[in-house]
Assembly symmetry: C2
Homo-oligomer: 334 residues x 2
C-alpha cells in the first residue's frame, strides 16, 4: 500500500482500490482468502447435505478490545450462526465499510484476526467487497459477513421440538463480551482486564448436534441470554425458568453489573451457546460439553407449562420476570 | 412500528428491533422475505450444478434517485455478479446499517424496492441482519447483500479463454447510473431527468451463457467500462481497443461529461453487461442481445496483440490510453 491512511480514492474501482484489496485483504487473508479476479466464487460442499446460509453485521466500538476485534468477531459471529443451526461452516463472504482516514495498520490487524478466526473454524473467505465512507459518515470500520454451511442429513434442530421438562444449558459464563467491550470503552470510568469470550462455538456444536435429546441451539449475542429465553418462551408457548444460582457469571462481570446497574442476563456473549435438551439427556450433554472444551457449562433452567414468559428464580427463592429489552444499554456491542 | 424514526434501541436485540425486522423488513419483503426465526436459512438449489457465492456493499448517496434506490441497487448488484458468472441467482442475504434518526417511511420504500427487484430476478432474501448506527456515524443507510447461485454444468466463462481477435460487446448505453446519481445530488448545480440503468442483467446473461463463442461477462459498475477494459487487458495480456464511434452513450450523459470534464468510459453502470465473444459469433450474440431486451447493445471493441493496455480509438482516428482510475470523481456512487 502506497498510503498509511485510507483515502476516498480507495473506493473508486481503480488502482488504489485494487491495492487495498490485494495488499491488505487478499494478502492478509492468505490461504483462507479469495481469488479477487472473480465476480462470484465457486464453493465446494464437503458432503451432500442441506445447504444453509446466514448473515451478520458488525459495528462494535472500540474496534479492538481484549479478546478480539471487529474482524475476529465478524468471522465468529457468522460461523456461530451456521454452527448453532447444526451446519458445518464452509465459506464466508465479507463486506468492509471503511471510513476515510482509517489507519491501514489497523485494517491489517483486523484482517489478520479474521484470517486466524477463519482458520480456526475451517472456513474460507471466498468473496468480498470494500466501500469507503467519507470522513464523518462511518464509525471507523463496519463489517458484514455472510456464510454458507452444510447440515448433515438427519440433524434436526428446531424450536418446534421443545417440550415441557426440557433443560436449558449454557456452555460457559455469560456477559464476558458485553462487559469487556464496556471496559475497553472506559465507560463509567471503569477499567478491568476481562476478555471477550468471542470464539467459534463450532467445536461444541459439531459434537452436540449429533447427540440424542438435543432439540435446539442458539448463541446468546445481542440482548444476552434473557433475549434467547424470551424467544424460546414465545416460540414454544412454555414458561422458561432460569435459576440465578446456576447461571455462570464471572466475578468481574457481576461486579460491573452491580456498580452500573446492568443485568448480566442481558449482556452479549460472542462465544457461548444455549442448548435445549430433553431432561433425560441433560447430564450426558453437560458431560459432553465439558469434554469438548466447555468445563464451565451448566444446566441453567427448564421449560415448564405456564404463561409463555421467561422468569428468573432468584438466590432468595423469589421470581422475577425477564422482560423483553426495550432501551439499549450498550449500543455498538457487536 | 411504534416509531416514525429509528432509535438506537432499534438495534438492541429486544422488542423494538423485533418490530423493525418484522414490520419493516419481513412484511415489506413478503413472499420473497426470510423466516426471521432461524439462525441460518435453508437454500434449495433448483438443479445440480456448481455453487457460486458473491457479495457487494452499497453506500450510494442520495439513497433514492431516478430509476432506483439503494434497496433495488443492493438486489440488482449482487444478482448481477452471480448472473455475469453464468449462474442462476437463487437466494440473497441482506445486512442493513441504519443511522439513528432515519425515517421509517424511507426504509419502507427501500424494502419495497428490494422486494420488487428480488421478484424480478426470481430470488428470495432468506436471511438478514440490522444494525443501528449512532446519529453522525452513518450516512443514512448502508446495505450489504450476499448471494448464492448455481451454474449449470458445462457453462465455462473465464478471462483465461480470451484470445486476440475476440470482440467486446456492451448491452446498452454506458454511464446512465453515474450520471443520474450525480444529477440527483444536484452536483455542480446540474439537474436533469436521466434515469439510472439499475436493473437485473440476468435476463440477458441466461441467454448469453449458453451461446457458442461467449468467453466472459462482467458488469461495468464502479470505474465503468474503462476499468473493465483495463482488467481484461491485464488478465489476457492483450491490448483492448475500444472504438469511441461505437460506444453507446446517451445524449444527457455526454452533455454532463462535456460540462464537468468527466469521461463516460469511467462512469458506473448498474444494469449493463460487457461480453467478450469470439469474432465469428459476435454478430449472432449481438442479435441475441437485441432479441433478449437490449436493442441498444453494440460491438464496441476488440482484443489485439500488443501491449496489455486499454486504448480508445477516437472519432478523429487518434488513440488515447484509458489509464487506471486513481482519483475518485464520484464517491458513494453505488
Amino acid at each position: 500500500m502506497e498510503h498509511s491512511h485510507i483515502l476516498l480514492a480507495h473506493g473508486n474501482g481503480g488502482r488504489f482500490m485494487r491495492e487495498l484489496i490485494r495488499e491488505v485483504f487478499a494478502q492478509g487473508l492468505g490461504d483462507v482468502g479469495p481469488d479477487t479476479q472473480l465476480d462470484a466464487a465457486p464453493v465446494r460442499l464437503p458432503f451432500a447435505g442441506e445447504l444453509l446460509t446466514t448473515t451478520d453485521g458488525f459495528t462494535v466500538q472500540p474496534l479492538e478490545f481484549p479478546g478480539g476485534n471487529i474482524g475476529s468477531l465478524a468471522v465468529h459471529g457468522t460461523v456461530n450462526d451456521l454452527a448453532v443451526a447444526g451446519a458445518d461452516p464452509v465459506s464466508l463472504t465479507l463486506n468492509a465499510f471503511i471510513e476515510e482516514g482509517t489507519e491501514v495498520a489497523l485494517l491489517r490487524r483486523l484482517v489478520a484476526a479474521m484470517a486466524a478466526a477463519a482458520r480456526e473454524a475451517g472456513v474460507r473467505i471466498v468473496a468480498g467487497d470494500t466501500k469507503i465512507l467519507r470522513r464523518g459518515e462511518g464509525g471507523g470500520v463496519y463489517l458484514a459477513t455472510a456464510g454458507i454451511g452444510v447440515r448433515p442429513a438427519g440433524v434436526k434442530l428446531s424450536m418446534d421440538l421443545i417440550q415441557a421438562g426440557d433443560a436449558i444449558l449454557v456452555s460457559g459464563p455469560v456477559g464476558d463480551h458485553g462487559t469487556a467491550v464496556m471496559l475497553a470503552r472506559e465507560a463509567f470510568g471503569l477499567r478491568g482486564d476481562l476478555r471477550s469470550d468471542a470464539a467459534s462455538v463450532w467445536p461444541l456444536t459439531r459434537v452436540l448436534r449429533a447427540m440424542p435429546g438435543v432439540r435446539f441451539m442458539r448463541d446468546p449475542t445481542r440482548g444476552g441470554i434473557a433475549t434467547v429465553a424470551h424467544e424460546l418462551a414465545q416460540a414454544s408457548g412454555l414458561q422458561v425458568r432460569l435459576w440465578a444460582s446456576q447461571l455462570p457469571v464471572r466475578e468481574p462481570v457481576r461486579a460491573v453489573c452491580d456498580i452500573v446497574g446492568y443485568d448480566p442476563y442481558y449482556l452479549a456473549c460472542e462465544g457461548r451457546v444455549v442448548v435445549v435438551v430433553a431432561a433425560a439427556q441433560a447430564q450426558a450433554v453437560l458431560a459432553q460439553l465439558s469434554a469438548a472444551g466447555a468445563p464451565e457449562a451448566a444446566i441453567v433452567g427448564v421449560f415448564e407449562t405456564g404463561p409463555k414468559q421467561a422468569i428468573v428464580e432468584t438466590h432468595l427463592g423469589g421470581e422475577r420476570l425477564l422482560l423483553e429489552l426495550e432501551d439499549d444499554p450498550l449500543p455498538r456491542i457487536c
